[in-house]
Amino acid sequence: MNKIVSKKQLSDNVFQMEVEAALIANERKAGQFIILMIDEALGERIPLTIADADPARGTITLIFQTVGATTLKLSKLNVGDALAAVLGPLGRPTSIRGANGEPAGHVVCVGGGIGVAPMHPIAQALKAAGNKVTIIMGARNKSLFVMEDEMRAIAGDDLILITDDGSSGRKGLVTEPLKELCEAGAVDEVIAIGPPIMMKFVALTTKPYGVKTVASLNTIMIDGTGMCGGCRVSVGGATKFVCVDGPEFDAHQVDWDQMLKRMGAFRPQEAAAKDHVCNLYKGI
């Protein structure tokens, strides 16, 4: 059992929770995730990135968007409640430029929507390893931005906000400032986390410039230990398991169209489950 020690609503449908998980807090590195269950008897296993951790207090921070049944149920839990299971840290840690043998340089982090949360520990680590870090944060509108202050603390003036409707920062898509930066020629690496469609277009944007681009994939998962193959994607023509071989891959090698299709495999069932849970909370 993992107790929830704090909870904050960051926007309409985005929540932040701090959860007790001492061993994970100690072991985790930027880019890793956990799998949680709210209920062990009939619950679902869902992956969430470790947005932050406090080894001294033995807690990890999760930031999630309510998109379906399980995230909705999670958002209804409160401080003092406990999660039935938290497994982690899973996945390979991010390979941080400047600390992995490659010389530090200019890294552009592109976070779309809730993808900004998992980007936070990565951006922190990149900064700590001596890189110049530019952060592009994109969202549909202003109310969907999360962790703006935390990201500004890392990137300072190199934080670029961009919204679909222009309600904050520039109006447009994250690929526009990214293209300008690549054009200017001073980008060594790009890391993208966000909706798969955004990551696909980030990859297409950087490809002509030959800029190394890494994307953190968020496929459907069950075990998270390489046992089921449900999370598989094609990368450079080979099948990879996101939970153990990833979650980060060379974005230019990922078969994005296939991944986008695979993420819709259970859409009708998920929609029905969400309606069911929504109605429960409405008391119908």
Partner: protein, 474 residues
């Protein structure tokens, strides 16, 4: 009774749920003998002085010994004899491939020229274990005085359950670490309820707790903690790695990443462990396959195809590239699958999975095969017939062509020797790995094998651990 009289006793058929009914429920198919049937079946044993059946049992249960007691109706003594070498008789009695093991060598089967007419050793074994469990008359197990030594057991499948029990009985402090939220390994996520009720696995896990074993679920060794840290930081004196062969193999054919293609592991895990079949109650979604093709011919393929029927499929094809003779699955499962309506496509193999523009499966292109000369394994090798392609109309494909060993622990444990196939290399006497104090057993050592072999490995490793810990002490 004279041998002649024993031979005149009819083999006792196993009472079963009706095929048409059971194909639509999750309840156990084989209902089990009554005491009378168990006694009668046990009386068929000829008490052969050379005990040929024993050489077929991987853990060498004293089969004539326990059958003699059972024939007298003394099932408690029978169980005591079984338990001397087997820790999981209720499980093995159900899932051992008996026709290839104990019953293969049985004189009765030889005389009657039909392995199916051998003494039903597994069924009597199962009865003895079920009776004691259901009536609460299992003998309490006692542990040796505490040794003060700590043993970490990784995984909770049959190898680990056995190793943990034996180490606890020897007086060591045992902690079991399991990545999933439930214990039992393949026994809970792979083998379905209709073949092995989960209450039996739960009972065995409860038994471990009674022996004082601490169980840590949701703990992935290699990630949550490395093997080296269990020893260095957490003070474990020995570690047993029983992490199984949980890495699904795919066929590497076009279309395998379409929606509606699953590894058997995923398909069965959703249904068994995550209870997806309880639609409306369980949160994990399941796939509503109407026309399902299962690729493979082992127990896993049988389980997946029979599960598909129970999840509402109208048509289930089992595609296997050799013939019935070569099928590795337990004979009884093949028989049950046929009875339930699984459509066997033998000497055929998948060539390509077809999909629609949204990425969903809508067909399977197959190729017909014929049997050629025997290959290295002694089995006649399947040879494709050129130009024999044809297409099956399916919306779901379950790939059940085997499992390789899970690389997570070897990849995160420096100095752990593995072979070409990724299996951990151990000393055959003690099951110790290349790292002193680290032992391994079960599918991670053998490659995908059987429950009874995994159990035997767990037992051998526990003996190895004891010797290691006690030598170390003096």
């Amino acid at each position: 009774m004279t041998p002649k009289e024993r031979m005149a006793i009819a083999p006792q058929a196993m009472p079963e749920q009706d095929a048409q009914v059971r194909a639509h429920n999750m309840n156990e198919v084989a209902l089990g003998y009554t005491a009378e049937m168990a006694k009668t079946e046990a009386s068929r044993c000829l008490q052969c002085p050379t005990k040929p059946c024993m050489q077929g049992c991987p853990v060498a249960i004293d089969i004539p010994g326990f059958l003699a007691a059972a024939a007298e109706g003394d099932f408690a003594t029978a169980l005591k004899i079984i338990r001397k070498t087997s820790l999981l008789p209720a499980v093995c009695g159900r899932v051992c491939p008996q026709e290839k093991q104990c019953q293969k060598f049985c004189t009765m089967g030889k005389v009657l020229k039909d392995v199916d007419k051998a003494v039903a050793i597994g069924r009597v074994e199962r009865f003895c274990a079920d009776l004691a469990r259901e009536s609460g008359t299992e003998e309490p197990v006692t542990c040796a005085p505490k040794t003060g030594r700590k043993v970490a057991v990784i995984g909770s499948g049959p190898a680990s359950i056995t190793c943990a029990a034996d180490c606890a009985k020897a007086g060591h402090d045992v902690t079991m670490f399991e990545a999933f939220h439930k214990c039992g390994g393949v026994l809970v996520y792979g083998i379905p309820e209709f073949r092995l009720p989960k209450s039996i696995v739960r009972h065995e896990v409860e038994g471990l707790k009674k022996l004082g074993v601490t169980i840590e679920t949701n703990y992935c060794v290699g990630r949550t903690r490395k093997v080296a840290d269990l020893i260095r930081k957490d003070g474990f004196d020995a570690v047993f790695v029983g992490t199984g062969a949980g890495l699904p193999k795919f066929m590497d054919i076009p279309g395998e990443n379409l929606n509606g293609v699953f590894s058997a592991n995923e398909y069965l895990t959703r249904a068994n462990l995550m209870k997806a079949y309880l639609e409306g109650e369980a949160d994990t979604p399941f796939w509503h396959g109407k026309k399902v093709a299962v690729l493979g011919g082992g127990n896993v393929a049988m389980d997946a195809s029979r599960m598909a029927l129970r999840l509402g499929a109208e048509k289930v094809y089992l595609i296997y590239r050799r013939s019935l003779e070569e099928m590795p699955a337990r004979k009884e499962e093949v028989h049950h699958a046929k009875e339930e309506g699984v459509d066997f496509h033998l000497l055929e193999n998948a060539k390509r999975i077809l999909g629609d523009d949204k990425g969903f499966v809508n067909g399977l292109e197959c190729l017909r095969y014929e049997l050629g000369a025997p290959d290295a394994s002694g089995r006649r090798s399947p040879v494709p017939i050129a130009g024999s392609e044809f297409t099956l109309d399916v919306d779901t494909v379950v790939v059940a062509v085997g499992n390789a060993s899970n690389p997570l622990i070897p990849a995160t444990t420096e100095g752990l020797e593995v072979n070409r196939r990724g299996n951990i290399v151990v000393d055959p006497e003690t099951n110790m790995t290349s790292i002193p104090g680290v032992f391994a057993g079960g599918d991670i050592v053998l490659g995908a094998a059987t429950v009874i072999l995994a159990m035997g490995e767990g037992r051998r490793a526990a003996a190895g651990i004891n010797a290691y810990l006690m030598k170390d002490r003096s």
